[in-house]
């Protein structure tokens, strides 16, 4: 499988490979077998849950992050039971967008959501999710985008014209599988979708009464409350297999916003040597234990540009499974750099987990940039 994968991504010269690679850029070899998504197959090894698919590399159950481009970079999707950590950009404009994509994907595929935030009410966050694009609409949108791209690149390349066929990470929606949907950022999700979905909210100012005089302990009280809340939901709704469920199994998508900021009661953003140096790391450790034993996936955004102690950032990175860093160009000298004039920022894939594997599943491109168009958030290889 690994050899096939490298073969698929490596060869781009011959016409046949190019034609099929443009359709599915991960690998041109399709795995024949029971399609796990959506169908009730008799295969007992794979769990057939809506919105998931097994990974072609290591057989892990994957969920989509909401952005098909990001799914490709992470090796097909986010593995169930892992943590996706997003390092926020400086003015916190693009990381909430990835957060919302993840939650919107959960609503569209029917997963249960758990949204935790100290800044905004979870109900407000859910109101602002992007609207999903239906299949015929989104094909039209993607066609337009790819056409625009092609016309301008037709003019540019005279000698290296075969490189025009290199996919720019804008994978077309494959209409046969229900894994990964496209969203329109300029529109809001329709109200009936939110009402039809099941979600739990954790808004910190409501859960903690600030007048109590709390003695300091090793783990922050907000984090303790959040962990208890997550544990309760997992136990009550049976995501850890404790109650045999009569209904179909489902995935719990957890989203925690701005973890580590002082609004959560954590002062690692304040000083280098603070009392609660280990609160966040302990929280992540316990959270990962909860996730590994249940059918859930988690997205966390952390303002790492504010954390003063670099060792904590390293520990936080090590304790998470997948780490994606966003760096926006606003206010930095890269804004006027002519190389980056088409993009809004860089995206760094800092870590990809080794799950039941001996090798990393790292993509071979390192210079990735993102751009927030009016309707889409696209990730492309920055052509420097």
């Amino acid at each position: 499988m690994a050899a096939a994968a490298t073969c698929g991504t490596g060869t781009r010269s011959t016409g046949s490979m190019v034609v099929s690679a443009s359709r599915n850029s991960v690998t041109s070899f399709q795995r024949r077998g029971p399609r796990a998504s959506g169908t009730d197959s008799g295969c007992s090894r794979l769990v057939s849950i809506a919105g998931t698919r097994p990974s072609v590399r290591n057989g892990q159950l994957l969920v989509s992050t909401g952005l098909p481009a990001l799914d490709q970079l992470l090796g097909g999707g986010l593995a169930v039971g892992t943590v996706l950590l997003i390092e926020e950009d400086k003015y916190n404009i693009y990381s909430p967008l990835l957060f919302k994509y993840f939650l919107a994907e959960g609503i569209v595929t029917g997963h249960t959501l758990l949204v935790a935030s100290a800044k905004e009410d979870p109900a407000d966050i859910l109101q602002e999710l992007p609207a999903p694009l239906l299949d015929d609409n989104c094909k039209k949108e993607c066609d337009e985008d790819i056409y625009n791209h092609k016309t301008e690149s037709n003019i540019k390349m005279k000698i290296a014209w075969r490189y025009q066929l290199l996919p720019k990470m804008e994978a077309r929606p494959v209409s046969s599988s229900r894994f990964g949907h496209y969203y329109d950022v300029s529109k809001r999700i329709p109200q009936e979708l939110i009402e039809a979905s099941k979600w739990h909210g954790f808004f910190l100012p409501e859960k903690i009464s600030s007048t109590l005089n709390l003695e300091p302990c090793s783990l922050n009280h907000s984090y303790i409350k959040l962990l208890q809340f997550i544990q309760n939901i997992i136990y009550e709704e049976g995501f850890d297999g404790s109650n045999p469920q009569k209904k179909q199994k489902n995935i719990l998508r957890i989203g925690i916003q701005n973890l580590g900021s002082p609004l959560w009661g954590d002062d690692i953003c304040w000083t280098e040597n603070c009392d609660s140096n280990h609160s966040l790391t302990k929280f992540l450790y316990m959270l990962r234990g909860l996730l590994r034993s249940s059918l859930s996936a988690c997205i966390i955004t952390v303002p790492t540009h504010l954390i003063q102690n670099k060792a904590i950032i390293a520990r936080v990175t090590n304790l998470s499974d997948t780490v994606v860093g966003l760096e926006s160009f606003i206010g930095s000298e890269k804004e006027t750099n002519p190389f980056y004039k088409d993009y809004h920022g860089l995206i760094h894939i800092r870590q990809i987990p080794q799950l039941n594997n001996l090798i990393y599943d790292v993509s071979d491109v390192k210079d990735l940039a993102f751009k927030l168009k009016r309707k889409l958030f696209t990730i492309e290889i920055s052509r420097t």
């Binding site: 016409g15 034609v19 404009i93 600030s210 002082p262 954590d266 304040w270 606003i330 000298e333 002519p338």
Partner: protein
């Protein structure tokens, strides 16, 4: 704080005194005082203030969220204002006039309902409105209302708009406004200017004073503004040692929480005289959480109309804190103003962080007048690049290279007309570029070159195998 230079003398109105009026004012008499303000020496100052409608003005309810604006020609609406006569040491008893000022497109109408001492009033009002130009001054009727039509002069209109925009734009977004000052460029006067603006707009103003005494803080405000300020004093006795019961129990944290819990509806401005003092006395996370609750009070009340915003103005001394607290408070703030300057002129670098939009920033040179109104300046008189440009100018990667990357025109033409080594017709190129629908197989397109020797025979034929 550098004192503002005196404005030039008022331009004499182009139209002469209206026929029929006998100006009974004396030559040296100065212009009228706008209600309640401290005596001013110059007519020009009074004139400016009157035009800026900084007297006690009540909005007539037509303007939406524009509050207490000066009578600028670009706005509609009606104000009622009061002008009190008399000024300086030769005050002859205050006589107050009630004015009705109506601004319609391009002109301002001033009308005086009721019977008043018209002749002296007229003369005084002429000096009041001298910043604009009186275009139509009808003769005075004996009684009853009459009207002037005044168009403000161009410079005033522009300047008014800019002054409006700076203070108003600072208060437009709502939420936390962070004023970062330093030892050389102090920010308390800008804080007081914002407080004054909010008070004049009719908002409730609460002040948490920690660094200076109440008398010193209230100095410079006139009495109607002072009556609108609710002052919570934490300077005199912060730890409540004297136990007189005057100070708030629980200290600064309790005072902040009490402000969070207020139930009185309406827009409110909370000024924290110094966030630095609060940072040094309160645990940081508690302060951040309380600030967040303070600035987002309206959201928990259901729908929040833009007029119901809460403004939290915080003064922060930059040198007292490290990069950690500064970064955290910047990320919490919706508007951030950094004060600096050059050559005696203060400037404000303002960063607007509207939710879910790209942050924008702006730099304004300004000075604050002794009565805490804002005056915008153009910039320091000498322009030697006052502060380093935060952005590096755009890089041109083809400079400073040891090889030549540029093409002259002839070279470019030669390059364009070069035939490429592989012969490819455009149709075949198109066919390969667009992924065709029915092309599942691959094709090899071979066009023999001039030197190719295609021999159909098998070259191995003569082998004896």
């Amino acid at each position: 704080m550098t004192p503002a230079p005196p404005a030039p003398g008022p331009p004499r109105p182009s139209s002469a005194s209206p026929p029929g009026a006998a100006p009974r004012h004396r030559e040296g008499e100065q212009g009228p005082r706008v209600a309640g303000e401290a005596a001013e020496r110059g007519t020009e100052r009074a004139a400016q203030k009157a035009t800026h409608d900084e007297g006690k003005a009540q909005r007539n309810g037509e303007l939406g969220d524009r509050r207490g604006q000066p009578a600028g020609a670009h706005m509609g609406g009606e104000w009622h204002g009061r002008i009190r006569g008399g000024c300086g040491p030769r005050q002859r008893g205050a006589s107050s006039l009630h004015l009705c000022i109506r601004a319609q497109e391009g002109s301002i109408r001033v009308s005086l309902p009721g019977i008043v001492n018209l002749s002296t009033t007229h003369a005084r009002l002429r000096q009041v409105l001298v910043v604009g130009e009186i275009v139509d001054a009808p003769p005075l009727p004996c009684g009853g209302a009459w009207q002037w039509v005044v168009t403000p002069s161009e410079g005033v209109r522009r300047g008014t708009r800019r002054i409006l925009e700076m203070l108003e734009s600072l208060l437009a977004i709502g939420g936390l406004v962070l004023l970062r000052d330093s030892v050389e460029w102090e920010g308390r006067s800008l804080l007081k200017a914002l407080i004054k603006k909010s008070a004049l707009c009719g908002e409730q103003v609460h002040i948490l004073g920690c660094e200076v005494s109440e008398e010193e803080f209230r100095e410079g405000f006139d009495s109607n503004i002072n009556s609108r300020l609710v002052y919570h004093d934490l300077f005199r006795d912060p730890l409540n040692w004297s136990e007189t019961g005057e100070t708030l129990p629980g200290g600064p944290l309790e005072a902040l929480r009490a402000l969070c819990r207020r139930t009185h509806p309406g827009p409110v401005t909370i000024a924290l005289d110094s966030l630095s003092w609060l940072l040094l006395h309160l645990p940081c996370t508690t302060l951040c959480q309380t600030l967040h609750t303070l600035s987002h009070q309206d959201s928990c009340r259901g729908d929040s109309s833009p007029g119901e915003q809460v403004h939290v103005l915080g003064l922060l001394h930059e040198e007292l804190h490290g990069p950690g607290p500064l970064g955290v408070l910047s990320s919490l703030a919706q508007t951030e103003v950094t004060l600096s300057g050059a050559l005696g002129q203060a400037s404000a670098h303002i960063l607007y962080r509207r939710p879910q939009q790209r942050p924008t920033h702006q730099t304004q040179w300004f000075s604050i007048l002794p009565d805490f109104s804002l005056e915008l300046q153009g910039g320091p008189p000498l322009e030697p690049q006052p502060y380093p440009d935060p952005r590096v100018p755009s890089m041109d990667p083809t400079t400073h290279l040891t090889f030549n990357l540029r093409l002259s025109k002839k070279e470019r033409e030669a390059k364009d007309s070069l035939t490429l080594p592989f012969q490819f017709s455009s149709e075949k190129q198109q066919a390969l570029l667009c992924p065709g629908l029915g092309q599942a197989t691959s094709h090899i397109f071979y066009e023999p070159d001039a030197y190719d020797d295609l021999d159909q025979e098998d070259p191995d034929d003569d082998l004896d195998v």
